[in-house]
């Protein structure tokens, strides 16, 4: 293995804050009495993503499709089996400990559960100050910075003296966001940031995230299963199915003209709150369960649940290819279906 210097290659053109190339992650499964196969779980298979500065990329898919694993790989919190992650032009795998740590300041994570992700014995101010302390930035103006961060997420600066249990779910999620923003990151990975919140407070957090992005120019990798929320917040969207990206493009392209049958099925399954629209449109109800990631189907991994599946789908894996419209899709028979609108 070649040894590269800690500073890595020179800063890239600066267009993309995150570039994920051909990422693969297998988790070994221990042989057991129940499962004698010992086949690894193919959690992420050949995933490539790019995220521009100040942009939001929505990563959607069903549970178990590998979206959270992809997020952890993108942050360098899990080592990939193969493939590369470049953050601001620097390959994470080529960085030594100290350089990686310096880079980590610029990438942060907000968790799903605001009840589990804050230490109940630390005041909110201490929680928000923790990243500053770890990176030795607290001494200079730390307390002021904490107050500033709390105002930034629309909490009172005096809330710093209180404990997490005194706050509602929505407020706790704001604290988690303040903590993630403490070090002025370029990228924040949001893993289901609003799905555990009460519906009347979701909108407030979604608006806050959008406002912060405008203000700070931070890029978001927004991982979620709720397509309505993803459509609302994302500039671009990637749809993931069983470890692979099956369709990606701008939000207008993916939601307005979905080409992959899986994307079409996902969208049609979202119930509308407009009774008239609900009655008019056709719903696709998929048969059966998603296949197991330890033993994915041959060819196209969606074919076992796909109404368009033909012999070629079992023989040949469809590649994620673009047809000159900036809207790549991995399907042998991509087409727009007008009856789903």
């Amino acid at each position: 293995m070649t040894v590269l210097s800690d500073d890595g290659p020179a800063k890239s053109t600066g267009e993309h804050i995150l570039e994920v190339r051909s990422l693969v992650k297998h988790f070994p499964v221990r042989r057991s009495l129940v499962d004698r196969s010992g086949a690894p779980v193919h959690a992420v298979c050949d995933v490539s993503l790019i995220l521009a500065r100040g942009e939001t990329l929505g990563l959607v898919g069903e549970s178990g499709c590998g979206k959270s694993t992809t997020a952890l790989l993108a942050l360098g919190l899990l080592p990939p089996t193969s493939g590369s992650v470049r953050f601001d032009g620097q390959d994470l795998a080529e960085l030594r400990h100290r350089a990686l740590r310096a880079l980590r300041r610029r990438m942060q994570l907000v968790f799903q559960d605001p009840f589990a992700s804050l230490d109940p014995r630390m005041t909110v101010g201490e929680s928000v100050a923790e990243p500053l302390r770890i990176h030795r930035l607290y001494r200079e103006g730390g307390p002021g910075r904490v107050r500033e961060l709390l105002s930034l997420v629309e909490l009172s600066p005096d809330d710093g003296d209180r404990y997490p249990h005194e706050f509602s779910g929505g407020q706790r999620q704001r604290i988690g966001i303040a903590r993630a923003l403490a070090l002025g990151p370029d990228l924040v990975v949001l893993d289901e940031p609003v799905s555990s919140l009460d519906m009347s407070v979701q909108a407030g957090v979604v608006n806050l995230l959008a406002g912060l992005q405008d203000q700070l120019g931070v890029a978001y990798l927004f991982v979620a299963h709720d397509l309505s929320v993803v459509r609302h917040v994302s500039h671009r969207v990637a749809v993931m199915h069983l470890g692979k990206i099956v369709e990606t493009g701008t939000r207008q392209a993916v939601f307005g003209r979905p080409l992959h049958p899986y994307t079409q099925a996902l969208l049609s399954a979202v119930p509308s709150v407009e009774p008239e629209r609900q009655r008019r449109r056709r719903r696709i109800v998929l048969e059966g369960d998603p296949p197991s990631p330890t033993d994915p189907p041959s060819g196209c991994r969606f074919r076992t649940r796909c109404w368009k599946a033909d012999t070629i789908c079992a023989e040949e894996e469809p590649l994620l290819v673009e047809r000159g419209d900036g809207h790549p899709v991995a399907c042998h028979f991509p087409s727009v279906d007008a009856t789903l609108a």
């Binding site: 009347s200 909108a203 979604v206 979202v270 509308s272 008239e276 629209r277 609900q278 998929l286 369960d289």
Partner: protein, 332 residues
Amino acid sequence: MRDLRVRFPTSDGVVQACDGVSYDLSRGDVLGIVGESGSGKTVSAMAILGLLPASAEVTGEIRFDGRNLLELPPDELRKVRGNRIAMVFQDALAALNPLHRVGSQIAEAITTHRPAIGSSELRDRTVQLLADVGIPDPARVARRYPHELSGGMRQRALIAMAMANDPEVIIADEPTTALDVTTQAQVLEVLEEMRERTGSAMVLITHNLGVVTVAADRALVMYAGKVVESGEIREVFAHPAHPYTAGLLASMPRLEHEGGSLERIAGHPPSLMHVPSGCAFHPRCPRSRLPEPCATAIPLLRTLLGPGHRSACHFAEEVIVSSSDDPSQPTG
């Protein structure tokens, strides 16, 4: 259900989980109860089946087929529960016994109410129920343990168990909340098929307004233990007459609209131990007139223009007019 009130005395004070909830459910009807966590929607359903903890103080009337369920002796109630009124819970993994095969748990639901059934008939009935809820290879699945099934399959098994005795009423508490949208669509379809086959009525409890739109005929919106609005889905969602309902609808990101800022409801849901005075929603309400009447007088649930459309807002008429004026409700 008439004027159901449920209180839980705790060391820190009294939790008023349900505060005068009333509704009717006709045969074959689907009523969606919508609310956030702590709105009292689950407690109101648990009361029907007598599943509340002994510490709960329950008053009011739940009439089922002429009898008040709240006054039935325990063994009489047991004859109703799981037989004529059945329940589908949110968390199928917790609702199923991990140590018993799926088939034997369904069989138990049958034998509890039909002890005389023969063993071959019991086996056939069990497998038939699993087939009815769309489980492939039902005879094989009947021999499986709950952990061997996927979330969607477990939820189907739970529905099969609820349908075991052709209940007249199904109470489904967040039956699809733990599921992905594609599985949610499957489960809703199965519930609908089973309901149509048996003619059962259903109380569908959910926080998801979309699920209610798909599956229910009427909606009941709950806030802080009270019903704040009720009526036909079409009426309630197209012309909400309570600021809370209107706010919820406007705050939802929708697939049909994109970008822009979402309308948000200020503040957060109140604790049931410290419900605000007057209208419980007044501290968060954009229309509240303070102090009178909103912080002083509890608004009653009253009938408005539409058939059976009721709202508990002092200014319901104004809310309904402004929501009708603006068909493109979600801004942006």
